[in-house]
Point group: C2
Chain length 309, copies 2
């Protein structure tokens, strides 16, 4: 009612994607747009808001105070549209589809590349995804990916992936800092942290007997994709589930100095409502997901033993 001009929905999606990916180019990729288009959309929205939403750095974008507020509300708006679509679809379908809520990081790094295989294998099973959905809408889903220790009252949780957390950094960063030849060397490096899982570093210090670890600097990010991006950009060391960065490790963009890592109790789980019996389609999907996850973590058993010793 206040402003006569409303932002465009693609603008909102651009803002959300920028917050998630941290650069115009990668956000553009994710949205199937060009860098130019995303840049212009951002410019439009900022003109409409009347203030910059992101600080421009040479590495990419980071949200301003105003941006934080706007991003949050943009997500809510997009989430509403998403749940509208899902609910309408559910209402119209005689045979309901499976509603699966995926976390952004899993969606980008694990799910989307693989899911087409499932769709080919089981074309008869319809699956709908939500990503932005608010917590109360998540309750409606038939299966929900969650991050945590596997204990959610009312939900059955199966371990999915991400138990194996490793220390990573960009090779340039590590070279610049003098290299990591012993555990203590990591004290010299800045570290990156995911805002929602702040205990990672203390867990790591405890698991590796690294006493009184006080990082040189801590940068916090709201998304794992940003942590990974920042790590690739050489902004610091990070603790990341190995499964999420197979590609970067293989290509050498990131390295795992000394093979350091630990097994975290906090990881990704596939959860299903405990009171609701699993339908046939959901059972198939669940089996497939869990098996695919096991295959994508081939080293885990070895490492579990190693860390346990």
């Amino acid at each position: 009612m206040s402003s006569t001009h409303l932002p465009s929905t693609v603008g909102l999606r651009v803002v959300a994607a920028l917050a998630q990916y941290g650069t115009v180019s990668s956000a553009a990729d994710a949205l199937h747009l060009t860098q130019s288009a995303v840049s212009k959309q951002l410019k439009n929205i900022e003109a409409l808001v009347g203030a910059p939403l992101f600080d421009r750095t040479s590495q990419g974008l980071s949200p301003t105070d105003v941006g934080m507020i706007y991003i949050e509300q943009a997500r809510i708006a997009l989430g509403a549209l998403e749940t509208a679509a899902v609910r309408v679809a559910a209402l119209r379908r005689s045979q309901p589809a499976i509603r699966l809520h995926v976390l952004p990081i899993l969606g980008d790094r694990w799910f989307m590349p693989r899911f087409s295989r499932f769709a080919e294998l089981h074309p008869e099973i319809e699956v709908e995804f939500t990503t932005f959905a608010a917590s109360d809408t998540v309750e409606e889903a038939d299966a929900v990916f969650r991050f945590g220790d596997g204990n959610w009252p009312g939900w059955r949780a199966d371990y999915f992936l991400g138990r194996e957390v490793i220390l990573i950094g960009a090779p340039q960063l590590i070279a610049r800092g003098g290299g990591i030849s012993s555990l203590d060397d990591i004290r010299h490096y800045p570290v990156l942290e995911h805002r929602q899982t702040p205990l990672r570093w203390s867990d790591f210090a405890q698991a590796t007997h690294l006493n009184e670890f006080v990082p040189a600097r801590i940068n916090r990010f709201g998304y794992y994709s940003l942590v990974i991006r920042a790590a690739i950009g050489g902004q610091g060391l990070a603790l990341v589930p190995r499964s999420l960065i197979h590609d970067e490790l293989a290509s050498g963009q990131l390295i795992n100095p000394l093979g350091l890592g630990f097994t975290s109790p906090n990881c990704y789980w596939l959860t299903t409502p405990a009171n609701r019996p699993l339908g046939a389609g959901l059972a198939t999907l669940r089996e497939w997901l869990l098996q695919e996850a096991r295959q994508s973590e081939p080293m885990e058993v070895a490492l579990l033993q190693e860390t346990a010793s």
Copy 2:
């Protein structure tokens, strides 16, 4: 993530306005668009959703099941954008504006026509409105219009208007049904009801000693504007705060048979947080609002006495 195409924001606003006003034409007026544009926007959204959102009647539009769902989410999305705007504005402004949350019906029928006078009188006081905002966002407002009995813990409530509820109907409807020459005649007519205030009719029956009142038919609406519109359209009798329909009574579009009505404990209140002290601007605004409301209800004292007798 599911649909590649997002609805446009004006489309969302169109849907919300259609739900509120019930006809394409009046929604178009409210949005400062033409009927043609609104019709096309609706068509676009429906094509995108894949199902009609409204049933077309010769009287206007009424939401379908799918429509209800979509409307709800559209409101949430618009509300998010609104709160984004308000919060950003609050953040940027050194001297904060007064944030006032108005109910749709009051905004349309009472507030907007009058508020420009206040803006002229006190140009130094900035006021921001919210309409769509969700309940948790309402808590941030400096003043909130509410409907109820004046009892909200933590809020100071001043009576605003709407205590005087009268029976109204379109003259054609009443003529068609044989006229209303005694209280009992209203049993023959269909009645209109506001979804959120379902007790009106039983309160009315009790206040007027109309025993065992079972309406011929009940039509329920989600907005008071729809109730009023339906009453004007001759769809039934309604119980409506007199202050909201002065114009229609004066023009003869609606009549108040036998002067029937009652004083309801549920009405509109202007509420302010009890713990927060009123700033000077807010105090001025509050005084002005309450005084204007008193002036727009000149007959009330007389009627109060009448009904009490």
